[in-house]
Symmetry: C2
Subunit: 541 residues, 2 copies
C-alpha cells in the first residue's frame, strides 16, 4: 500500500492524471505558462507519511476501546491517523502537500455495530475524549478535522449496509457509511434511484450527505438531502433519538431537520430512511440551450421554475466564462457551428450554456421538455440538442479529478458556492465575480446548478497561480474577502457544502446572536461535555 | 354586540344553521332520533358571559402594559377574556356551552407593533406573567388556552398586514395576524395564490398555520406550511431570530423548522415569508372517480403519487361510509346513475369517492389528469367527471359549520387525524375504525386528504349521541382510547392539527425521552422563565 501524503490528498481512486489539452492551452494563455512549467511538481507530497506526535490516548484507555471493537478496529499508526486528519478543503490539500499535519486524530476507530458506537460515546464522555464521525472524508469546509485530537470514528468499514428497501413506501433505510455508487447500483438493480448525485458521489457517504446538508446534481427535481430524508436514528451523548418514517407530521417541530446540517456536532447518525424514486432512464428527456447572455438565461431559468409545470431534475447554467472555457476545452471554437452561432448573435464571452435533464413518466418528461423549450426561446435561447447534456452526464464527476494535476503545476484551484434569491442573483454574480477577478492572474467560472422557484445557487470555480512559498496565507486572504463579498451581496454562506470550520467565523454575523445561542443550546443538551466534532465546527464551542 | 357563550363557540361568522335534510335523515336512522329531538337545545350556551374570577394582574402592572400599547389595547372585561379562553377543541365547546371557564386570560392585549411585542415580552419576563400569542383561535388541540392566566396576545387586530409581494422571488411577506381570505384575495388580485387552504381557512391566520404546522386542502401539490415558509422573524424572550429568504441553504440546521410547529411556546412570530404561485383558475383540471373498495382506491392513490408525474394539488379519497354518507346527503341514492353504478359492481358501503384538482400550466394539468385517469382505471376506478369536485370545492369550508347544530341536538361531533406510511395505512384505517365503531351509537367517516409518495394522512370524523350529564368525561374516555389506537397502529399523533395540550400526554411515548429533552432544552434557551404558552403545550414544562 502506498503511504505517501500524495496518496491521501489525491481525489478519489488515486489515478494520476495530466490536464487535458484544452486546460493546458487555457493555463498557458491565462497565466503565461510555458511548456516547461507543466513539468513542475509543486508541493508534490510524495514523501512517506510520518507524524511527529504519537497518539496521546493512554494505553489503558486504548485498551478499553479495543475491548469494545476488537483491537483490529482501533488504529494509531501514522498513516491511518494522517489519512483521517483532513477533508478536501483546498487548504487541507496544501497542508498535506507540505507534509504538515498539526492535529491528527489519536485513534481511528472503525466500529462494527451501533451498540459499539454507544459504548464508544460513553467512554469518550467519561474520559473527555473528542470524537468525530466520518464517512468519505470529502468535506471541503474542514468539517472532519480533529483539532483536539481524539477519535476519528470511521463508519465506512462496517456501518455501510443497505438495511431495507420498502417498495410500498418508496423508501430505503441505510446505514450512514454507504457510499453513493453501491447504494445507487443496489437501487437501480431493483428499479429505483436515490436521485442524489453530489459532485463527490463516488467518494461520499449517506451519513455525510445528511450531516453536511448536501445537494445532488439532480436536486432541482429530487430536492436537497433535507427533502429526501424521512427518518433518522442518531446516537447522541444524551441518548438515542429516532424519528419515524411518517410522510409528514405536525408533532411539534421537525427533529430530522436538526440533525440534517449538524455536521457531527450533535451525535452519530446510525441509520437514514430516504425517499427513493422509480429508475427509468429510458424516459429521460434532455435539452441544451445557448443564450445570448447571463441575464436572459437566468430570466428564462426563473420563468421555467415559476411556470407551474414542476421541475427539471438536472438544471444547470454556465456563465459566459464557464461556457467559453467549456467550448475551448471541447475544441468547439471556430467550428462551423460556432461561426453560425456567432452570426446569430451568440457571442463568445457573452453566451451561456444551459443543460436540462428530466426524469419520470415518459409523457411527462417530454411535455416538460417542450414547455422548457418554449420558455427558453422566449428569452432568446437557441436549442442546441440533447447531445451536450448527454456528454456532460458521462463525465459528471470528472471535474473533481482536475484539482490535483493543476495544483501539481502550482495552480490554486477552488470552488465556493452560495444560494441567493432571484432578485439578488445577478448583483451577487457581478460583484463576486468582480472581486474574484481583482486578483492579478485568475480564471473565474461560475454556474447555477440547483434551481428553485424562489432563487438558485451560484457556484464559483477559480484558478490562479499559487503564491510560491506563501500558498496558504495567500489563499486564505483571497478566500476571506470572497466570503465577505458573498455575504455582503445577500448570498448564503453555503447552499450545499456546509459550514465546517472554514465558514464558522461568519456564522454569528450571518445568523445573529440569539440564533447562534440556540444552536449552542441544542448542542449543550445533546452533547453536554462538548466531545462531538469539537473545535469551532459551525461556529460552536 | 352579542355577548353570550354561544357567540364565542359558534364557528365562523356566527350564522345559525340547521342541519340539512340529509343529515337529519342520517341522525334519525343512525341514532333513533325523532322529529321532537331536533327541537332540543342541548347545552345551548345562550347565557350572557360572566366570569367568576377577576383579572389577577395588579393595577400597577396593567398600567405598564397600557403604557406600552395604549389603554384601549389592554382589555380585561369578561367577554374579551372569555372569548380568548379556548380554541375549538370539542371539549372546549362543551365547557363554553356549560358556561365553565376555569382559566381565562387575565388580560387580552392587541399590540400595534413588533416593538410593542418586544416590550410586552420583557415586562412578562420581569413579572413572570404567562403569555400566549393567538390568531384565529381555531386550535382544535387546546393550543391557545391560558391555564396559568396571564396575557392572551391577540395579533389579528394590528399585526395583520401584507408587507410585500416579490414577484421576482415569487414570495409574499406577511404579518402573522392576517386571515386566509384577505391574503388570498390580495394575492389573487395580483395574479398569485398562496395555495394554503386549511379547513379553518376563513378564520385562521398565517401565524397559526405556521405555529401549528398545518396543511391546506391542496397540500398534496403545494406542500404543507413547512414547505411554504422561506423565512421567519420571531421575537423570543431570549432575543430576536430572523431567518433569510434563501431558496435553500446548508448553513447548519434549519431554524425555520424549529418555529414551525412550536405552537407559541418559543416566541411570537412577527413576520412570515411564504412562497406564492401563479393563480390560473382557468387552467385547472378536475377529475372524480369511484372505486369498488378502499383497498383498490388507496392502491391507485399510491400508484399515482409514485408515478413520476408530479402531484395533483387537491387529492382526496373518502372511505366507504363517508362516500355513502355524501351520496345520501346529496340525494344520489337510487338515482339512475346509482343503479347503473351498482350494476357495475360499485356497491354502497364498499365504493369510495376520489377527488382530484390540478393547478398550473394548462398542458401540464391536462396531461396529469390523463395520467391519473389511466392509473385510476387500472385499479378499477370509474371516472365520474369534473362536477363532483367542482361542487365540493364550492362548499369546501362548510363542514366546519356543521358541528354547532349537531351539538345543539346533543350529538358529539369531532375529527381526529393522523399520518401513516403506505404499508400501515389499511391496517390503521381498519383498526381505528373498529375502535371508533365499538361505541354503541356512532357514525364514523374517514378520508385521505393529504397524500405523499411515502404515505398519506387519515382523517376520521365521528358523530355519536352525547352521554347526557357526563358529556365531557364520556368524550375524553372515548378520545383517549382513540389516540391509543392510532399510536398502536403506527400513526402519528397529528398530521396537521398539531399537539397542543390534547395530545401532549402521548408525546414522550411517541418521541422518546431524549427527543422530549431536546424540545425542552430548546424552550429553556429561548424562554428561560417559561412564560410562552405555558402549561403542557407540546408536553413541555
Amino acid at each position: 500500500m502506498e503511504t505517501t501524503y500524495r496518496s491521501i490528498f489525491k481525489w478519489g481512486d488515486k489515478r494520476e492524471e495530466k490536464p487535458e489539452k484544452g486546460i493546458i492551452a487555457l493555463v498557458k494563455e491565462q497565466f503565461g505558462y510555458t511548456d516547461a512549467d507543466f513539468d513542475k511538481k509543486v508541493l508534490y507530497g510524495d514523501r512517506e507519511v510520518r507524524l511527529e506526535q504519537k497518539s496521546k490516548i493512554p494505553a489503558a484507555i486504548r485498551q478499553r476501546f479495543e475491548n469494545i471493537t476488537g483491537s483490529e478496529n482501533v488504529r494509531s499508526d501514522d498513516y491511518s491517523r494522517a489519512s483521517h486528519a483532513f477533508g478536501k478543503f483546498y487548504g487541507d490539500l496544501l497542508y498535506l502537500r507540505k507534509g504538515e499535519i498539526a492535529t491528527p486524530p489519536d485513534l481511528v476507530i472503525t466500529p462494527r455495530t451501533e451498540k459499539e458506537i454507544e459504548q464508544i460515546l460513553t467512554l469518550c464522555q467519561q474520559e473527555n475524549i473528542a470524537i468525530t464521525p466520518v464517512g468519505g472524508l470529502s468535506s471541503v469546509t474542514r468539517g472532519v478535522e480533529t483539532p483536539n485530537g481524539g477519535i476519528s470514528l470511521d463508519l465506512t468499514k462496517y456501518l455501510s449496509k443497505i438495511l431495507k428497501v420498502n417498495t410500498d413506501n418508496s423508501t430505503v433505510r441505510v446505514q450512514p457509511g454507504v457510499y453513493g455508487p453501491p447504494l445507487e447500483k443496489y437501487l437501480n438493480d431493483r428499479g429505483y434511484t436515490c436521485g442524489h448525485f453530489p459532485q463527490s458521489f463516488e467518494y461520499s457517504t449517506v451519513g455525510g450527505w445528511v450531516a453536511a446538508r448536501g445537494a445532488g446534481q439532480a436536486s432541482t427535481g429530487y430536492g436537497k438531502i433535507e427533502d429526501l430524508v424521512l427518518a433518522l436514528r442518531v446516537i447522541t451523548p444524551a441518548g438515542i433519538i429516532e424519528t419515524k418514517d411518517f410522510p409528514a407530521t405536525a408533532e411539534a417541530w421537525d427533529l430530522n431537520k436538526i440533525f440534517i446540517g449538524s455536521e457531527g456536532t450533535l451525535g452519530v447518525i446510525t441509520s437514514v430512511t430516504l425517499k427513493i424514486r422509480k429508475y427509468r432512464p429510458e424516459n429521460r428527456a434532455f435539452a441544451s440551450f445557448l443564450f445570448k447572455d447571463f441575464a436572459s438565461a437566468t430570466h428564462a431559468m426563473r420563468q421555467i421554475m415559476q411556470a407551474g409545470t414542476s421541475f427539471s431534475h438536472l438544471f444547470r447554467l454556465s456563465d459566459p466564462v464557464e461556457t467559453a472555457t467549456a467550448f475551448k476545452i471541447k475544441g468547439f471554437d471556430n467550428s462551423l457551428s460556432d461561426r453560425f452561432l456567432k452570426m446569430k448573435g451568440y457571442r463568445p464571452g457573452e453566451r451561456c450554456l444551459m443543460f436540462v435533464s428530466i426524469e419520470g413518466d415518459k409523457d411527462y418528461t417530454h411535455l416538460l421538455k417542450k414547455k422548457i423549450k418554449k420558455i427558453a426561446r422566449q428569452s432568446g435561447g437557441f436549442y442546441s440538442g440533447e447531445k451536450p447534456v448527454k456528454e456532460w452526464l458521462k463525465q459528471r464527476y470528472e471535474s473533481a479529478y482536475l484539482r490535483d494535476p493543476l495544483m501539481d503545476i502550482g495552480i490554486m484551484t477552488d470552488t465556493v458556492e452560495t444560494s441567493v434569491s432571484w432578485d439578488n442573483l445577478l448583483i451577487l454574480w457581478t460583484n463576486v465575480r468582480n472581486y474574484l477577478e481583482s486578483r492579478e492572474k485568475v480564471h473565474v467560472m461560475a454556474h447555477i446548478s440547483h434551481v428553485y422557484e424562489n432563487g438558485a445557487n451560484l457556484y464559483f470555480t477559480f484558478l490562479s497561480p499559487m503564491k510560491q512559498g506563501d500558498e496558504i496565507a495567500d489563499y486564505l486572504d483571497y478566500h476571506r474577502e470572497l466570503i465577505d463579498a458573498i455575504h455582503a451581496n445577500g448570498g448564503s454562506l453555503s447552499h450545499h457544502h456546509g459550514i465546517g470550520r472554514v465558514l464558522a467565523p461568519w456564522m454569528e454575523k450571518e445568523m445573529g446572536k440569539t440564533a447562534m445561542g440556540l444552536l449552542q443550546a441544542t448542542k449543550d443538551y445533546l452533547d453536554p461535555k462538548g466531545i462531538m466534532n469539537p473545535g469551532n465546527t459551525l461556529g460552536l464551542r
